[in-house]
């Protein structure tokens, strides 16, 4: 008897831990835009838990349920900086009940270099909902009070100013290249694994500045200062921090986040999803929570996606050429 009980015990624990496996095995229902969605939707984040993609998705969860009565079930499929997830998306069920987070510049930059297993144009993005604007950050006690201070130091001794950031050929790396060519300076960019490690290097005084986001600054408000923000307007959380535009550098951008469905998903269902996530973006409580964390909300629905992507692509292609990603 003891043996049977043991097996049940194991199975019970396994089931509890593996809601996700059950969700995958769930029946693939025929899509019908009228009553869509009539059961829970699984939302795959192609990164590990705890990052900004995860946090912003978690914030959407509650309002998705308020609007549709169904739940968004978040799962993770980390690996290859998102490539592992994106390369598998189009093989998943295209019934609208599987969606995946997608990120810019990742989905455009990765396929430019070597083959990461997916193509940018094969991803059927249906809504882009926010971005974390790039920001050049220094420690509170840094001698660089303004962007000009840092530029002056970099001009004086090219390559001596060290700047940390998350990863190579990432949003941060690109921001640094764009900044270098606009300000005509040379810095030393030091890639770290993730924003957390990059900001640790800044706080520990290992580097003089960090390419991060408004969200990073919001998270470490008491210890850091932003020199400039790559957004169109000043961020409501930081009314005193100038934008790059104000200072004469035409730089807006950052890490954009949105969602995609498998290619086989019917258009009416895709549009419905775009509408639902558009509604979430209009919720004042959701907006407030996102802004408090330092995000900037944008609305790019399904029918404007192609234009939006084409614009971003043109921006990144220019930098990618300079960086030698495209040869």
């Amino acid at each position: 008897m003891r043996q049977t009980r043991f097996t049940t015990w194991k199975l019970g624990a396994l089931m509890g831990g593996l809601l996700s496996a059950a969700a995958i095995a769930g029946p693939a229902m025929a899509a019908d835009a009228g009553s869509f969605p009539d059961h829970n939707i699984q939302y795959i984040i192609p990164f590990g838990p705890g990052g900004e993609s995860d946090i912003s998705a978690r914030l959407q969860q509650k309002y998705f349920q308020d609007i549709t009565g169904q739940q968004l079930i978040i799962q993770y499929m980390a690996g290859g900086g998102g490539a592992v997830g994106w390369s598998q998306l189009n093989e998943m069920d295209g019934d609208g009940y599987t969606i995946m987070g997608t990120n810019l510049p990742h989905i455009i930059l990765k396929p430019m270099g070597k083959d990461p297993g997916f193509k940018t144009e094969d991803l059927k993005n249906f809504f882009y909902f926010h971005y974390s604007p790039d920001a050049l950050i220094v420690k509170k006690d840094s001698p660089y009070k303004t962007l000009d201070d840092l530029i002056a130091a970099a001009k004086k001794a090219p390559g001596s100013v060290t700047v940390s950031g998350s990863g190579t050929q990432s949003a941060n790396d690109i921001a640094n290249r764009r900044f270098e060519s606009m300000a005509d300076v040379k810095t030393t960019y030091i890639p770290f694994k993730g924003t957390g490690a990059a900001v640790t290097a800044l706080l520990g005084g290992q580097v003089q500045a960090e390419w991060g986001y408004t969200t990073t600054a919001a998270n470490h408000k008491d210890k850091v200062r932003m020199l400039a923000v790559a957004a169109d307007e000043r961020h409501p959380l930081f009314p005193d921090v100038p934008t790059f535009k104000e200072l004469g550098y035409d730089m807006t951008g950052g890490a954009y986040r949105g969602m995609a469905v498998p290619k086989s998903t019917p258009d009416d269902v895709t549009k419905k999803l775009s509408e639902i996530f558009g509604k979430i973006n209009q919720n004042p409580e959701f907006r407030q929570k996102m802004e408090d964390l330092g995000f900037v909300l944008i609305d790019v629905p399904y029918d404007q996606m192609d234009d939006f992507m084409a614009k971003r692509r043109a921006e990144y292609e220019k930098v990618a050429r300079e960086m030698g990603i495209i040869k």
Binding site: K10, I74, G80, T188, G196
Partner: protein
């Protein structure tokens, strides 16, 4: 209100119940190979959104504590670390179980985990801001030297041939380079496979390298998996207590090492338990018994890995930088709840923080009765279950567990292949632990080296970057000590023998 009254708030009936449920759930999830503490926390995060922040934090902390401790069950009873931080628990825990002392090993692990957890929580309560400042002093160069120090432990950890230990570590280092590199974004050893882009997942490798050989041996040998215990024996609590008393300095030292390593983001529980294990072995009068079922080995690793729970929360709360992977998930949950980490956690949000720390203490104490109860049951089941049922059950769990880490079927393939390779290699004396150590430390060493090199170039002196800071010099001294000590000891025993022969 003062600290104590906030901590007492954790004692409300609802919070207490959440702590009990959290600990029990954590132990079960942690005990299953592949279902790690990170996953346990991530699965339960949505459940906590509807709760008040204190209750949510208490539950998450309890699950985390329970899961780290639960990892020792699989390590002791089936030789598979349930979480990476239980790797070193297999060294002595499994030999103990094999000779029929599995119940004693589980009791020891429970007591040690509780002590380690308490030390970590005390450090979090009293020294958090100070320790967080120390953590910031560790830059890329220090991480590089720390990883090198970790690699030198191979000579202390490998049984038998040190050379074979280094062969294993080299293999691990090579495996760690598979996929897209963090620095440079080069694609290495992916052979055109989109799955290999993500690299070799550490936990899949762990499961494969440790669990598959056990399964093969179970099928290949006619003898029972574990020696059955004598009838009518209890949980051997008294015996456990007296062993704990004997190893009290070991336990304290390991708990301090665990806390200290955990405040360094990215280093984590696996390194903490390996360092304290090798320290315990080095200083023990019975060092030749280590690896053959020495209770002090279990005590060292299990106090150390539970001390990382409290220790890891220090950078998480004070700096907003997660100390361990589960901390990253808890940090995310805090942000969604609308809390900001940093000094605010100890000023405006002090109520939540201290209630949480109180909850962590309660969860750690609860681990003793709950752990002993579940542990006894787990031990008896594993011992009495027939092999025909045990083997497929473990095999099933390894596959599900591996798949669940990243929802990636290819990880299962990697796990099985590494398992078979590991089995063959271990027949030739190359044990899994150096391979895993190489796999874990490889990226830390590589990134630290390249970052340090870039920083050195920017400042005009690469040598200055690597050898010019007091902290790096201190770690280099540790490296030298760790390399030279075994050589010195071998030389001494040899000269002793020679003198003895001369007479």
């Amino acid at each position: 209100m003062d600290t104590l009254s906030f901590m007492a708030a954790a004692l409300s009936p609802v919070n207490l119940m959440l702590a009990i449920v959290g600990v029990a759930a954590g132990i079960l999830i942690g005990a299953l190979p592949g279902l790690s503490a990170t996953m346990a926390v991530a699965v339960l995060v949505p459940v906590t959104f509807g709760m008040p922040p204190e209750a949510a934090l208490i539950m998450l902390g309890a699950i985390y504590t329970g899961a780290i401790y639960g990892g020792s069950y699989a390590a002791i009873l089936v030789n598979t670390p349930g979480t990476p931080s239980a790797i070193a628990t297999t060294f002595d825990g499994f030999p103990m179980a094999k000779r029929g002392d599995g119940d004693l090993a589980v009791t020891l692990s429970t007591l040690s985990s509780m002590i380690g957890g308490l030390v970590g929580a005390v450090a979090l309560l009293t020294l958090a801001p100070l320790l967080a400042q120390i953590a910031l002093k560790f830059g890329p160069v220090e991480y590089f030297w720390l990883a090198i120090f970790g690699l030198t432990l191979i000579s202390a950890l490998s049984e038998g041939s040190t050379l074979k230990g280094f062969i294993g570590a080299g293999l691990g280092l090579l495996l760690s380079t598979v996929g897209v590199s963090v620095i440079g974004a080069d694609i290495r050893y992916a052979f055109g496979s989109q799955f290999l882009l993500g690299g070799v997942e550490t936990i899949s490798a762990l499961i494969g390298l440790y669990c598959i050989p056990v399964l093969i041996d179970l099928v290949a040998t006619p003898s029972a998996h574990l020696e059955p215990p004598e009838e009518g024996r209890g949980i051997r609590f008294r015996e456990g207590l007296s062993l704990m008393w004997r190893g009290k300095f070991n336990a304290l030292r390991s708990a301090i090492i665990g806390t200290a390593v955990a405040i360094l983001p990215g280093a984590g529980g696996s390194i903490a338990s390996l360092v304290s294990y090798s320290e315990a072995r080095r200083t023990s009068p019975r060092s030749d018994q280590f690896g053959k079922g020495e209770p002090d080995g279990v005590i060292a690793t299990e106090t150390a890995n539970n001390a990382t729970v409290g220790g890891g929360f220090i950078p998480t709360f004070v700096l907003g930088i997660p100390g361990t992977p589960p901390d990253a998930v808890i940090l995310g949950a805090l942000l969604v709840q609308g809390f900001r980490t940093g000094p605010e956690m100890f000023t405006t949000n002090v109520g939540v923080t201290y209630t949480f720390i109180g909850g962590l203490f309660i969860a750690t104490l609860l681990m003793l009765p709950i752990g002993l109860l579940i542990g006894r049951y787990a031990f008896k089941s594993i011992v009495s279950i027939p092999k025909a049922l045990l083997v497929p059950s473990i095999a099933f769990m390894t596959i599900i567990g591996t798949y669940a880490i990243r929802n990636n079927p290819f990880d299962v393939v990697v796990m099985v292949v590494l398992g078979v390779v590991g089995w063959v290699l271990s027949r030739y004396g190359v044990k899994p632990s150096p391979i895993v150590l190489g796999l874990i430390l490889g990226p830390i060493a590589e990134q630290g080296f390249v970052q340090g090199y870039l920083m050195g170039n920017a400042s005009g002196s690469v040598a200055g970057a690597f050898f010019g800071r007091p902290l790096s010099l201190a770690i280099i001294a540790l490296v030298l000590l760790s390399v030279l000590f075994p050589l010195w000891r071998a030389w001494r025993t040899r000269s002793h023998k020679e003198t003895a022969n001369g007479h």
